[in-house]
């Protein structure tokens, strides 16, 4: 029962924040609503016993990416953009396409709902969530982990070059 109440509370937070993010006129307000939405997602992780991802979500998204967004909003002058038209000319086509995809997704989810009663897969490991992730990340997924660090290096170099005075 408590699970259900928390799930619906976080779901309202996630979806409400998301809708206000994409409809806002002021980019700073959008960023704040995106933070609300991401915190809701973090709560959903906690509900599913993914404590490590909960911490990563808050530290990385709310602490890192959103600060990056707010810095760029301050560097870039958005006053002019806030006064202009907010939606492009193809918005109706876009909405129709998304609605079509939404109907498909809803249909499949509704008819496939019974397939989600997954068989119980063994006993829960006694190790904690963070320990399990570390074990898996540093043994089975060591190569992807290293490749991800190269990706981050490329991203850092790329963004520094992009933001340089003269490209």
């Amino acid at each position: 029962m408590l699970d259900a109440i928390l799930f619906y509370a976080f779901a309202v937070l996630v979806l409400g924040g998301a809708v206000l993010t994409i409809t806002g006129r002021n980019a700073v307000h959008s960023a704040v609503w995106l933070i609300v939405s991401l915190l809701g997602v973090a709560g959903l992780y906690l509900l599913q016993q993914a404590e490590f991802l909960f911490a990563v979500q808050i530290v990385l998204y709310v602490g890192g990416i959103m600060v990056l967004f707010l810095f760029v909003i301050m560097l870039v002058n958005l006053d002019q953009a806030a006064r202009e038209r907010q939606f492009n000319r193809q918005w109706l086509v876009g909405l129709a396409a998304v609605a079509a995809v939404g109907v498909q997704l809803g249909y499949f989810l509704y008819h496939g709902m019974s397939a989600f009663h997954l068989p119980e897969a063994g006993a829960v490991s006694p190790a904690g969530n963070t320990e399990q992730i570390a074990d898996s990340l540093f043994s089975e997924y060591l190569l992807p982990f290293e490749v991800a660090s190269v990706l981050l290096l490329v991203a850092v170099v790329g963004s520094v070059i992009m933001a340089k005075k003269r490209i």
């Binding site: 993010t21 993914a50 991802l53 990056l68 560097l75 997924y141």
Partner: protein
């Protein structure tokens, strides 16, 4: 009332659609980038839901890689935005038509 994997999948599908609407209809590039973050979070909800249902930690590992990608994408995207604003003085996606003639 039981909250199962299906509930999480429905929520994630709704978040994905909201993010897609943002990408397709907004003109402001900053908000388009925020919509991409919403889409990536929808993916992560899916991965964690299945990870929880199957008692298998691999889904959460993939969620970590998705978050890494999201960080790289945000950094490069915002760098491009700053370079673009310096050259064109606009952040509206449909006013940037250098490759059209």
């Amino acid at each position: 009332m039981h909250i199962g994997t299906g509930h999480y999948l429905a929520l994630s599908a709704a978040l994905l659609l909201i993010g897609t609407v943002g990408v397709l209809t907004r003109r402001n590039i900053v908000i388009i980038l925020m919509s991409i973050e919403l889409i990536l979070n929808a993916v992560n909800i899916n991965l964690v839901a299945f990870s929880h249902a199957l008692h298998n930690v691999n889904g959460q590992i993939f969620a970590i890689f998705v978050i890494t990608d999201a960080v790289a994408e945000a950094a490069v995207g915002l760098g491009i935005l700053i370079a673009l604003f310096r050259n064109k003085e606009t952040v509206q996606a449909d006013e940037i038509d250098l490759l059209k003639w």
